[in-house]
């Protein structure tokens, strides 16, 4: 019998794309759907998904949980768990449109929740860690339930199928966001499970990723020391946890996160191109966070509640193109997909390996929360 995602490790090739409007101007989901449709050949119909930021302005202060259920039994269990830990402000099925190429859908529910203050206090955790632990708990412990989106004012939509069909299925043209990312998957196996599609997310962090990292087990075994459980055995999952650990838990700025996961080569560090202070810091990173270095080909777009970061592995073993038009930044596996979103960009370039592109909402933008 074929093993489901999480029971075996499935390498995959992929297409990714994304954009962000730094002024917080919102665009509906059809633009991002078109951008991935033109890279149809890079997927094989076994997984596609989207992340949209700024899509739930009416519930911007609640955590939005998107959950797949295999059965109503798992839903009952999960809802009991949610009731014990959260104040559920709203719940509903996520609206869908039947698509002939998207089949075998699980039950797909959405909850807007606030952590129960007493529970939160008892846990002695900060709010985001509490929510993250709860999500990891549900995914790890409740059979047949899978929380695939858990941030504020953002949401992940994913399924088994070609990404353009997934966008149609979830009616993404009805959502508007200031940033979108998308992933089309080409797994080398038949995962057949919706939870295994990408983006992978935890809280507001989402990752779309193209590549196959060779450091996987080194990264997994390290990050699992810090309370994470890599249940899906996918690269994207472990990268998300690494970002969560470094960015959220250690408070490292994303520029430094990039220096850990795609660190400069020793030859660069010793070439004197960095200031002495910076050299010292990078040497320190390569010493103490060495198990979080990611090797092997990857191009990723990380989404978070006020921006996007795109990053290539340090050898640039996967294609990735970036472009700019006014206050919008575009990133994609291929230029054609950027041209679909915006035919007349001001600037288009191919970022170097290990060199992050960080595009954030303007400091005074009303959409910007957190930092």
């Amino acid at each position: 019998m074929l093993q489901r995602e999480g029971e075996t490790r499935i390498p995959a090739g992929c297409a990714i794309s994304g954009f962000i409007n730094r002024s917080g101007r919102r665009t509906n989901g059809s633009v991002i759907v078109n951008s991935i449709a033109c890279m149809h050949e890079r997927s094989n119909g076994l997984g596609g998904g989207f992340a949209g930021y700024g899509i739930y302005p009416e519930y911007r202060d609640q955590y939005a949980f998107h959950v797949f259920y295999d059965s109503s039994e798992s839903r009952v269990k999960t809802e009991a768990f949610l009731d014990r830990h959260f104040d559920v402000v709203n719940l509903s099925r996520i609206p869908i449109r039947k698509n002939p190429r998207i089949t075998d859908e699980p039950l797909i529910w959405r909850y807007f929740v606030n952590p129960l203050p007493t529970k939160l206090q008892d846990s002695q955790l900060d709010e985001r860690t509490f929510v993250a632990r709860c999500v990891i708990n549900i995914n790890d412990k409740i059979d047949g339930a899978y929380v695939f989106s858990s941030g504020k004012n953002m949401g992940v939509f994913k399924a088994v199928g070609y990404p353009e069909d997934v966008g149609d299925f979830y009616r993404l043209e009805e959502y508007s966001g200031w940033a979108w990312t998308v992933h089309g998957r080409y797994p080398t196996n038949t995962p057949g499970w919706w939870g295994g599609a990408h983006p992978f997310s935890l809280l507001d962090y989402t990752i779309v990723h193209n590549g196959e990292i060779s450091s996987y087990d080194a990264n997994r075994r390290f990050i699992e020391m810090f309370g994470y459980k890599c249940n899906l055995l996918t690269d994207t999952e472990v990268i998300t946890y690494i970002v969560d650990y470094l960015h959220r838990r250690l408070g490292m700025p994303l520029e430094d996160v990039a220096k850990v996961i795609a660190s400069p080569f020793w030859s660069e560090i010793e070439s004197g191109k960095f200031s002495p202070e910076e050299t010292e810091k990078i040497r320190h990173f390569r010493n103490v966070y060495s198990s979080l270095l990611i090797t092997g080909p990857f191009s990723i777009i990380l989404g978070y509640n006020y921006g996007l970061m795109a990053l290539n592995d340090r050898l640039k073993l996967r294609s990735m193109v970036a472009a700019e038009k006014g206050d919008t930044i575009y990133i994609s596996s291929e230029e054609c997909s950027i041209r679909t979103m915006c035919p007349d960009v001001d600037k288009i370039w191919s970022p170097r390996g290990g060199e992050p592109i960080i595009a954030e909402l303007d400091k005074n933008c009303a959409e910007r929360v957190g930092k």
Partner: protein
């Protein structure tokens, strides 16, 4: 004349057509095997003394010599093999404990040989180390994760003492006493040239070698030979030797006859006195005592040097390592039962301890399960025979490895396992001046550098094949390993899947 019950282990085959009676073999053999008989005008041999060190074979100018197992055998017996019978005869003759040298040679499983490595195909490109950077630099020490950023975005982090290795291989502890001064010099110079470290072992540091201090790990063992402030200050790290893979649970013994003027001065003991290291450190009877010694050594070195605790791989090694990780030590060195020794009781060497592969895997897993793997680095020792073993050790979870037997081989050792006799014909495990001078440090150091450089190249090739371009992404990456012909229990302990899974 007393009857000799023992069988000669080896037979010396001399081709009379080739032998020119130059008597090189006679001059080279400290065991006094070869002799010229003027009456017969030919070379004769006392085979009982032969240890098969191959010195005479290597130096015979006409290739006239061959050493092979003695064809004369005791009557075959599935239970009592010849070695056991021989040992009974020896003990019946001497009444003594049997002594042996070098690592456990018995036919136990070698797990390295039952582990296969991975390589990239299609979904992920292999990397060519000749075209792309391939990094093997390694840091050893505690890895404090704490970091804070001030309002200007400047990072503040805790710096802990560490060792920086240009490649993940160090030379393991071999004392001056167990090996010669020339051997020590070769190791010290090779470690310096390679950007790694050698280890003094428990015999102190010869005054001529203080200049290699920044590539030296100084050892503090239960005998505390040669330990004083200047010695601790000289090294880059201090290693507390709690145990040795070849002889877990017992100390060491350097016979007085080897304690010449230089060794006496280096070990700070009288000339001709036996140097006996007790089985335990007499100030460490429990884990909390170890913590005190770790702290004392840190204090003595201003907290600037990492402290290594070396233990033998024994049954409950994971729990012991966990205790050590919480004792303030920066590095744990684990020595497997195949690890070498200059001398050990045979019964101990051949029956005590466990394989490094299993010990390493269970220690690494345990420290991760407890979330304290970052508090210490792990150095694996006790038979790393090739670059492939090193790669497998790192993928199982080691930060670096110690090699010693392989280093001795590079200097000429042929593993005759007779170091305890002090008559090493290769000038390595001896203090006899006429033998020591046979080892030329200028040549030996270069051969050590060659060996380790070659292994480093091979490690890079293997990593490249896996699509990994930095050693840290190999560390603990057990998905790169598969077992072959192992039971489920063995796979579980190693934390790897079976080939084909």
């Amino acid at each position: 004349m007393a009857v000799n019950f023992n069988n000669a282990l080896f037979e010396i085959v001399r081709n009379p057509d080739r032998c020119i009676k130059c008597r090189v073999c006679e001059r080279q053999c400290a065991n006094e095997v070869h002799k010229y008989d003027p009456e017969q005008d030919k070379m004769v041999a006392n085979e009982l003394n032969c240890v098969d060190c191959q010195r005479c074979v290597c130096l015979c100018p006409t290739n006239a010599l061959k050493i092979r197992p003695n064809e004369n055998q005791f009557r075959m017996n599935g239970n009592w093999n010849m070695q056991l019978m021989d040992e009974v005869y020896k003990q019946a003759g001497s009444g003594g404990v049997l002594l042996s040298a070098m690592g456990n040679p018995q036919n136990y499983p070698v797990y390295w040989d039952k582990i296969l490595l991975n390589a990239s195909q299609v979904t992920n490109p292999p990397i060519d180390p000749l075209r792309e950077p391939m990094e093997t630099k390694t840091f050893l020490g505690k890895k404090s994760q704490k970091i804070t950023y001030d309002k200007d975005g400047k990072a503040h982090y805790e710096k802990t003492p560490y060792l920086e290795l240009d490649l993940p291989i160090m030379f393991s502890a071999m004392s001056f006493g167990s090996i010669s001064k020339n051997a020590h010099e070769s190791l010290a110079r090779a470690a310096t040239a390679l950007g790694t470290y050698y280890n003094t072992g428990e015999g102190g540091l010869h005054r001529d070698f203080y200049k290699y201090g920044k590539n030296t790990i100084v050892q503090v063992a239960s005998g505390r030979f040669g330990v004083f402030k200047g010695y601790l200050d000289a090294g880059a790290a201090v290693e507390i030797k709690m145990g040795q893979g070849a002889k877990p649970g017992i100390g060491g013994h350097l016979p007085g006859m080897k304690v010449n003027e230089e060794i006496s001065r280096t070990r700070m003991i009288p000339m001709g006195a036996d140097a006996i290291s007790p089985a335990p450190h007499h100030d460490i009877y429990s884990i909390e005592d170890l913590r005190q010694l770790v702290n004392s050594l840190k204090e003595a070195t201003n907290g600037e040097k990492p402290i290594i605790v070396k233990i033998a791989a024994v049954h409950n090694v994971a729990a012991i390592a966990s205790g050590i990780a919480r004792s303030g030590a920066d590095i744990i060195a684990i020595d497997g039962f195949r690890g070498g020794t200059g001398a050990a009781p045979t019964r101990i060497r051949d029956n005590v301890g466990i394989p490094i592969e299993l010990a390493l895997a269970s220690v690494d897993s345990r420290l991760r399960d407890e979330g304290i793997r970052n508090d210490v680095s792990i150095v694996a020792a006790g038979s790393m025979r090739s670059a492939a073993d090193v790669v497998k050790a790192i993928a199982l979870g080691a930060d670096a490895v110690y090699i010693a037997t392989a280093a001795l081989l590079a200097m000429g050792c042929h593993l005759c396992r007779s170091c305890n006799t002090g008559k090493c014909n290769w000038g390595i495990a001896t203090q006899r001046a006429d033998l020591v001078k046979r080892l030329n440090p200028n040549v030996a150091y270069e051969r050590l550098v060659n060996l380790v450089t070659a292994w480093d190249h091979e490690i890079k090739e293997i990593m490249g094949g896996m699509g990994i371009n930095s050693i840290e992404s190999l560390r603990g990456n057990r998905l790169m390993l598969r077992g072959i012909g192992l039971t489920q229990k063995e796979l579980d302990i190693l934390g790897i899947m079976h080939a084909g899974e």
